[in-house]
Symmetry: C2
Amino acid sequence: MRGMNDITHPANSPLGRPGDAPTLGMLLAMVRSEMVRAIEAEMSNQGLDLSFTQYLIIKKAQQLGAMSATELARAVELDGGAMTRQLDQLERKGLLRRSPHAQDRRALRIELTEAGHTAWQNTASVCSQRVMNAAQASLSRTEQSQLHDYLERVLYTLRDKT
Amino acid sequence: MRGMNDITHPANSPLGRPGDAPTLGMLLAMVRSEMVRAIEAEMSNQGLDLSFTQYLIIKKAQQLGAMSATELARAVELDGGAMTRQLDQLERKGLLRRSPHAQDRRALRIELTEAGHTAWQNTASVCSQRVMNAAQASLSRTEQSQLHDYLERVLYTLRDKT
DNA sequence: GGCATATATTTGTCTTGACAAATATATTTC
DNA sequence: GAAATATATTTGTCAAGACAAATATATGCC
């Protein structure tokens, strides 16, 4: 593209885009998507093919132990229908197992398989640690916890007041 | 759900979920999605039916004036194909106009209509201001700029080092 | 117990956005 | 200036997630 409106990239801001600084909303989206991309890439490099959503599911399943699909869905903030399909995929990959729930015949008991635990401990958790360390390397401990704190405060406020 | 794993909601953390604090990734996703929801709701209340993506497009179009579809797509970090379809919708709503580009017959000149400018100035910008003010109300000026700064640093680091 | 209501899972449908292919036009290279 | 290459837009296709409907089972109330 040429002409018409050559306001474009006047002297490239550090973010590779013109003029004004990105808004908070944009910034959040960008950080989030870079983080997702980086973790997926890192896992893929290690031969583990998981989407970020699947990574989250494995993580929660590992963290909280056996639980129903609904509980898992809530834990990763995913729709129930979407969860069913992710479970299909993860089951096909051999990373988790659906068994009937002992007390409730409507529900499932979702549990990592051995392969699932291994994938988490040897690969997924390591990859995400590596990325998160790299990402937060430019922040001091104090700044890291401030960042966390500020985001939580913004979140509560948004949930309450709007 | 009952039994099996009643680690659930031991004494509800402020976030309404069990145990450990949300990770940075989760937090970013949650803040972002609350922000989007709140802005869409606010606009809808004012009788303006725009998705958050459409809101961003209008905003950029207003901010940067007439530009090609590709430039606009880059400005809002949206895929070109997705942009075409959003432009279709926004044109149907009467908020913007596609005209041929004077110098480049491949390209378009995207421009807000009068209705588009009005929608931005009377409604969309006001709504987003209201939400962003509410969201950041719990942060001091200093904290707000720290938040921005930290996020930018994390973003640059992620883009460079991974 | 039996019925109304609530919940767990699955499936269907819709919208969105990424990616790739197709088309038209510009730009560069020789 | 012709061929090769690059770019703008559109369209097709796919996967993901939201939402709603369907089904099975639980729970509460009489």
